[in-house]
Symmetry: C2
């Protein structure tokens, strides 16, 4: 079993290190970890945010553990050299189209959510975000018009088959949960969304047991604050999924707790090939200071064991250790506590 | 002074009626109201959601009071005949590019926000949303590819001059408030956003007194829940503004309280020509049942008096009456109270 470990930039380094310590503490026979540079770190060392060697290592692994990328010093670079291109490149080159972003409130953290406790307590949802299409990967440019004015443009689009494959993932996820799926779009304005909605309705015929709703994205952003308990599985496009899943993190208490999986269709010997990352970014302002909460990355490692390596018990074990640490008051700075990165890693390891 | 009154569909009818009663109760000399159909109502009566007569009436007025449009029965119509095209058509035909969406917590409503009271209490922001560009108005289609697959697409774009004019509105708004402006984009992925950011930075040179920040939209959606008190004026494009302003409404307690103004550059004899509408929709499920909260529309009428007719005292008077009614516990169903549409209208009128 081979895991490619790509810590990336900023706090990506230190949170990944703690997740790796947790994996090592489990003493999994036959597990090998191989490290590579990615993001601004890779750009500085090798001139590209996703060097060919990193991509090949990732492609050859059974799963990828990813930290975070991003660095303000790279904002002036041409777009294809910026750190974000590393994660976008991995998602598209490896056809990791299905992003699962669960949001559940941990016991005892009601008081940490920005939402009122009685609302926060209801949250138990998964956002299924499409990762290979939408305005993220269409043609784009800044051009100069004949009159000398500049114009920036990006093509938003989805094809039928792109929508169909993510819809199947979402319906199957709903089957494994409360059998409710809410598809989020902006079909009252966008043709991309109209096609999305039409295809989701077609796919629904194969899942008569799942209740399907549709919601406009503006309303969904509102409902996610007003009454997040109404959602079970939410399926949406790349851009809307980016916004809604970050928003959901605050309902849960902190972005430092949210893990994610990016899955494709390829099966490995042990499960589904995938990339696992915390949904937070590289937070350059607190990097290298032992201030970041590694729990989101540790929970991402648990998802990795479950989905890509078929190690369900071990995944449960990590998740229980994180819950236990939180319940015992091991809170990072993001949760108003004082526990440092390393200390949180130790607390999880001691509870495995 | 001529106001075009366009109530539209669903609860648009009843909430507009209350706002008109409030305006009439002020007994403004020389004020004339002229009504016209819009949305699904107009489609049924005249075969088009924005009939030429409605558009001409709106164009010839000093201001427009708009209710809401939308009707599920029209979802099957060709896009150009759907109710939403009425509001999109008015915004673009009349070059109403600057949407001001204030979000402030009314005294005593801390407990109504989905957010914890100590967080909700901090909210006092205005979202300045661009209304004439972005993926809303680019070319769009659903096409069939050579291999028989369907593809939906929408062109997202902004030109320099479109960004510049909305940036000026936002910087001026910040000057009139706490001199802080946050520009929201997704420049790490979109070229449209990169141009947006570059132009906002250029315009900032003319406003050295205003502190400018930039935030990615995913982070903004999170921060708006986590700590909305950090924002003063937020400027963003049409799509992101749609999402963030609906989201902000829940931080304030109810979408039934949020008013908005859509302004252009044209000056009338009394102020700036504009369209005023609640940010909520037509809510067909509760239409005609005296259940809708008309406060957002009444507050929109107050904005109309202030911005388009120069009647600042009268605008203050309406806003004080709404605050007073809320403080006295006149709460609509949206706020967990029992006051009906008409009753809320009466309560505001009696406090003018
Ligand atoms: C870093 C950025 C390109 C990325 C995205 O927008 O997808 C991030 O926000 C995420 O959600 O993983
Ligand atoms: C009705 C719809 C087209 C509209 C929009 O998306 O702009 C509405 O959501 C709004 O915010 O005014």
């Amino acid at each position: 079993m081979k895991i490619a470990v790509l810590p990336g930039d900023g706090i990506g380094q230190e949170v990944t290190q703690e997740a790796v310590r947790v994996l090592e503490a489990l003493d999994l026979p036959g597990l090998s970890l191989e490290w590579a540079d990615v993001g601004a770190t890779a750009y500085r060392a090798h001139g590209h945010p996703l060097p060919p060697a990193t991509l090949e290592l990732a492609r050859g692994a059974d799963a990828i553990l990813f930290g975070a990328v991003g660095d303000f010093d790279c904002d002036h670079l041409e777009r294809h050299l910026r750190p974000e291109q590393a994660i976008l490149g991995l998602r598209s080159e490896l056809t990791l189209f299905a992003n699962l972003r669960p949001a559940t409130l941990f016991d005892g953290l009601e008081g940490m959510s920005a939402l009122r406790p009685e609302i926060a307590r209801q949250i138990d949802l998964v956002i299924v975000r499409e990762l290979n299409g939408d305005v993220y990967f269409g043609d784009k440019a800044i051009e100069t018009l004949p009159d000398g004015e500049r114009r920036g443009w990006d093509m938003m689009s989805y094809t039928e088959s792109e929508v169909r494959r993510i819809a199947h993932v979402a319906f199957r996820a709903a089957r494994g949960r409360k059998e409710r799926l809410c598809s989020v779009d902006k079909a009252n304005v966008l043709e991309t969304s109209q096609l999305w909605r039409d295809v989701v309705i077609e796919v629904a015929k194969e899942y008569p047991d799942v209740t399907l709703d549709h919601m406009y994205v503006d309303n969904a952003a509102m409902q996610l604050v007003k009454n997040p308990g109404q959602f079970d599985v939410v399926v949406t496009g790349n851009l809307f999924g980016d916004i809604l899943s970050d928003q959901a993190s605050m309902c849960v208490g902190s972005i430092g707790l949210l893990a994610s999986a990016a899955l494709g269709e390829r099966q490995t010997e042990y499960g589904t090939f995938g990339l696992y990352e915390p949904i937070h970014g590289s937070a350059p302002d607190i990097a290298g200071q032992d201030k970041a909460n590694p729990m989101a990355t540790i929970l991402s490692a648990a998802m990795l064991l479950r989905h890509s390596l078929g190690l369900v018990d071990q995944a449960d074990c990590i998740e229980a250790a994180v819950s236990g640490a939180l319940a015992d008051g091991v809170l990072g700075l993001d949760l108003g506590g004082e526990a440092g990165t390393r200390e949180i890693g130790d607390a999880v390891i001691s509870r495995l």
